[in-house]
Structures are given as structure tokens and as C-alpha cells.
Symmetry: C2
Subunit: 83 residues, 2 copies
């Protein structure tokens, strides 16, 4: 079994109120040195088989249609090899 990780983040030009709220909390709680915070989603997808090119292409298709909204979000995808 292998794992594919898809990270979905708002595009840089899209306002991120969740991230802004977290940044505000950092300031209030005295965590210094933070310039900005962006919050996104992380999907850990366990495959029944190997993460071959075909399986990864399938997940890539899902990432761009089901897991992210391509109008406002970018995704990155990587295969994770477990230690």
C-alpha cells in the first residue's frame, strides 16, 4: 500500500481570512516573528496498490476536480514513502 498526499492551498492572490485569523491569534498570544499565515487542506490518500504512473494520474485528476476548486485553489501532489 502506498500513500499519495495532496495539499490544497488558496491561490496567492485570493484573500485567506482563516489564515489572517490565525495570524491575529499568533500576535495576541505573543508569538513573534510571523509575517503571514495561509491555511489550506491536506489529503492523505492510501492506495490499495502501488503508486504507479497510472494511479498517480488518476489521483491528479481527482485533485484538480474533486479535491480543489481550480478557480481559487492550487494543489500539489506527492507520493509519500513511509519510513
Amino acid at each position: 500500500m502506498s500513500r499519495v498526499v495532496v495539499d490544497v492551498m488558496l491561490k496567492p492572490e485570493i484573500l485567506d481570512p482563516q489564515g489572517k485569523a490565525v495570524h491575529g491569534a499568533f500576535d495576541r498570544l505573543g508569538f513573534d516573528g510571523v509575517a503571514s499565515v495561509r491555511q489550506g487542506k491536506r489529503f492523505e490518500i492510501e492506495l490499495t496498490g502501488d503508486a504507479g504512473p497510472e494511479a498517480v494520474a488518476e489521483i491528479e485528476r481527482a485533485a484538480s476536480t474533486l479535491l480543489s476548486n481550480p478557480v481559487i485553489e492550487d494543489y500539489t501532489l506527492h507520493v509519500e514513502t513511509e519510513a
Copy 2:
């Protein structure tokens, strides 16, 4: 400026209805070969300075108190070097 990424996921023993819903959608939409899906949060934190040991320890403290609920969630933290 450097970036620290904090990934927050539900602990393995905690039920993940969001992930389950995504997994169900995979099945319905014909994406095969998926054994399970877990959904979590990703925080991209830009620091004003370098990601030295002190700054990272500070973010680590924030990750365990502000960004995650240690009762039900685990977090991982890594410093990202931009290409």
C-alpha cells in the same frame, strides 16, 4: 524570509468523517484503487526572519497549543526551503 509548514491531522484512532465523505465521492465518481482518505489542515507560516532553532521552537509551541488540539490531533512541522 523563510517558511515553516505545519500539517495537522486527526490521530489515526479518531474517526474522520470528512475523509470518509471524500472517499465515498471517489467511489461514486469512479476513482478506483483508493483504500482510505484522511483530511487535515496545512498551515504555511512565513517568518520575518530566519527559521533558526529559536523561531522553530516558537512555532512548535504554537503548533501544539494554537494550531492543533493535542487530544485528537497530531502535527508535523518542517522548514520549507523555497526553490
